[in-house]
């Protein structure tokens, strides 16, 4: 038993089992059959090529957001403002496309400009949170939330205001002209370009964090900011840079949401990916490669659960329950493992 609890892998397996048991209990409370629920989720995520391309498509924003958070997590920061940074990226990207719509500029150039502009938007929004923390003493959690709310307000005033389509105000802009869409895979919504960018993003983050001096220093800042400061690392500057890097990924996420998938700017375009990415990042424990499968599982659950309403008259928020309980049980088992190990060490020393 002790061995099971102190081994890293078996403790994660136990957490997984506990999360499944908990989920089954929650489903049974609703008088539903857990096996049928899981069948619906499987069918809606990997049951068909069509479903799977949708999962892959939603995986792109989630993994990109998670990649960005790797920087702030490494620096010991909680960038809860991810959601607003994605929104700003989307707003900036759409603004550029809107400006060029009807001009002679080739679509590909406009798309590249839009993505770059989205990156700038996300980075600015993240930098503001960092500045507020460094110079205003406002914890990044509250600063980030504040800027999420402000981004919401800006988004709403644009899509219900100057950017609303003629005549209607339904929280969405007019659809982009086809030439400003990232090319999509035949017969699906999946954009291989976006998928490629996401994969490059994962590689880039891994290289920066694991293979450069900068990554090492950032890690030192996150582990112990006071002693790194005393050793001559400009901690404040490193924190700000980690916010900017995170914002770059957030902005990219938002821009791809516009040109790659939604083809409009609309309210809630960030889709909760920023909030979900925080959970993926926690589970991945700052290992970018590990976050690849975790993000895929999380997105599969979300997409699969969206069919619960039609098939079983259950609320699709069940996916959030599964994801949340999974993280909670992993944290619990991790804590149990460390407490047992510490006790063992104490006994050995005594």
């Amino acid at each position: 038993m002790r061995k099971l609890l102190t081994n890293r892998y078996s403790s994660i397996a136990i957490a997984l089992i506990l999360a499944i048991v908990f989920t089954c209990v929650v489903i049974l409370v609703m008088n539903a059959n857990p096996i049928r629920v899981f069948a619906v989720i499987m069918r809606g995520s990997v049951g068909s090529w069509d479903a799977f391309t949708q999962v892959l498509q939603a995986w792109v924003p989630l993994i990109l957001a998670t990649c960005g958070l790797m920087f702030t997590f490494t620096a010991g920061l909680w960038n809860i403002g991810m959601e607003g940074q994605i929104e700003m990226g989307a707003i900036f990207a759409y603004g550029v496309i809107r400006y060029f719509t009807g001009s002679d500029t080739p679509g590909a150039v406009v798309i590249i400009l839009a993505i770059l502009s989205g990156i700038v938007g996300g980075a600015i929004w993240a930098l503001l949170v960092g500045l507020l923390k460094n110079f205003g003493g406002v914890n990044e959690i509250f600063g980030g939330l504040g800027f999420n709310f402000i981004a919401d307000a800006i988004m709403l005033s644009l899509v219900y205001g100057p950017w609303k389509p003629e005549g209607v105000a339904n929280g969405s802009t007019r659809m982009l002209d086809r030439i400003y869409w990232l090319p999509q895979l035949e017969g699906s919504y999946l954009s291989l370009w976006a998928l490629g960018i996401a994969i490059i993003g994962v590689i880039l983050v891994t290289v920066i964090l694991k293979g450069t001096y900068f990554g090492l220093k950032l890690k030192a800042v996150g582990k112990n900011s006071k002693s790194s400061f005393l050793l001559g690392v400009p901690t404040n500057r490193y924190m700000l840079v980690s916010f900017i890097l995170c914002g770059i990924f957030a902005g990219l996420t938002g821009a791809l949401q516009v040109t790659g998938f939604n083809h409009v700017l609309r309210n809630n375009i960030s889709g909760g990916y920023g909030y979900m990415a925080l959970m993926v990042g926690m589970l991945a424990n700052i290992q970018p490669l590990l976050s690849v499968p975790i993000a895929l599982i999380f997105i599969g659950l979300s997409k699969g659960a969206s069919g619960l309403g039609i098939d079983l008259q259950l609320d699709s928020n069940l996916s959030g329950v599964i994801q949340g309980s999974l993280v909670i049980f992993v944290l619990i088992m991790d804590g149990v493992r460390k407490v047992i190990q510490r006790k063992g060490k104490g006994a050995a020393n005594g």
Binding site: V29, G146, F149, G161, G320, V327, I328, K338
Partner: protein, 330 residues
Amino acid sequence: MDSSLVNSIASIFAWAGPVIFAVMGETITERAGVMNLSLNGSLILTAMVGFAVATVTGNFLVGFLAAALVGALVALLIAFMSISLKQSQVAVGYVLAMATKSLAYFLGAPYVGKQVMQIPVVSIPLLSQIPILGPILFKQTLMTYFSFLLILACYIYIYKTHQGLMLQGVGEKPTAAFIRGANVNRLRYVYTGIGGALVGVGGALYSLSIKGWNGQLSGIDGIGWIVLAITIFGSWHPIKGALGSYFFVILQWLGIVLQPLLPNVNSRIFQVAPFPLMILALLFVNIGNADWVDRTLAGLPESTRRVIAKLLRAMRTSPPAALGIPFENE
């Protein structure tokens, strides 16, 4: 003063009820050195539980009790994971905020839009006859009166009782409190549980007296984060925290009042506006803590410097010294 204005001012006190309960709960929890970051989710979950239980049993009291119990359980889970298992309070609180929110929407789906009876308004004899003040303060529901009493009770408990002194000690100087004979970790468990129960009452009060239960459309999402901000804004002091709560509710009320006057601005903007304003307020109370402010001030002429320094000191807040730091008695 015309009666519609009196009525709307009275409704500010009623709307503030849930915020007050949650802010007082979080103030007590953080005073003991634990941060319950799950508020946004636990408020929604307890709103759902309170509503569902009250609808099924037809009894408010049972609804509030069930919500308090659930709020306490969520809080105790945070205490267990952070105190006993030494996990980061921020991480645990954040995940629980997300998980409890989803759980509330999933389990609460069958109760969406159900009607629940109104909590009756109780006029206090004589006092409610006072012009203007009477209808504002003394024609409220029982729970609103409780929210007034709770502010006072928290203030007296924290500052005027021996247990309150211990509570402050556990959050400020746990080692000293331990030497004085306090069981630091047990007290942290207790106060986290009590705080969570108060948050639960606040959640139930939302659904049972103000918003009803409409799943994701209940309009409770986001308020938990604001409660956390108000707790800081109120520098962990019950009376200042209460003022912050009323300030936030007044901002929300202004949004509704101003909306018809500015027809060009989308109504949703008025709904979101109080949230960033509250965060801005945080900036003002925190800015005095930053080094660069001290450095800039040093360059100013003496008389100006003194005035600004005084102003900053009056606004500045500093958290309980051991907030979020695990205690180990070595």
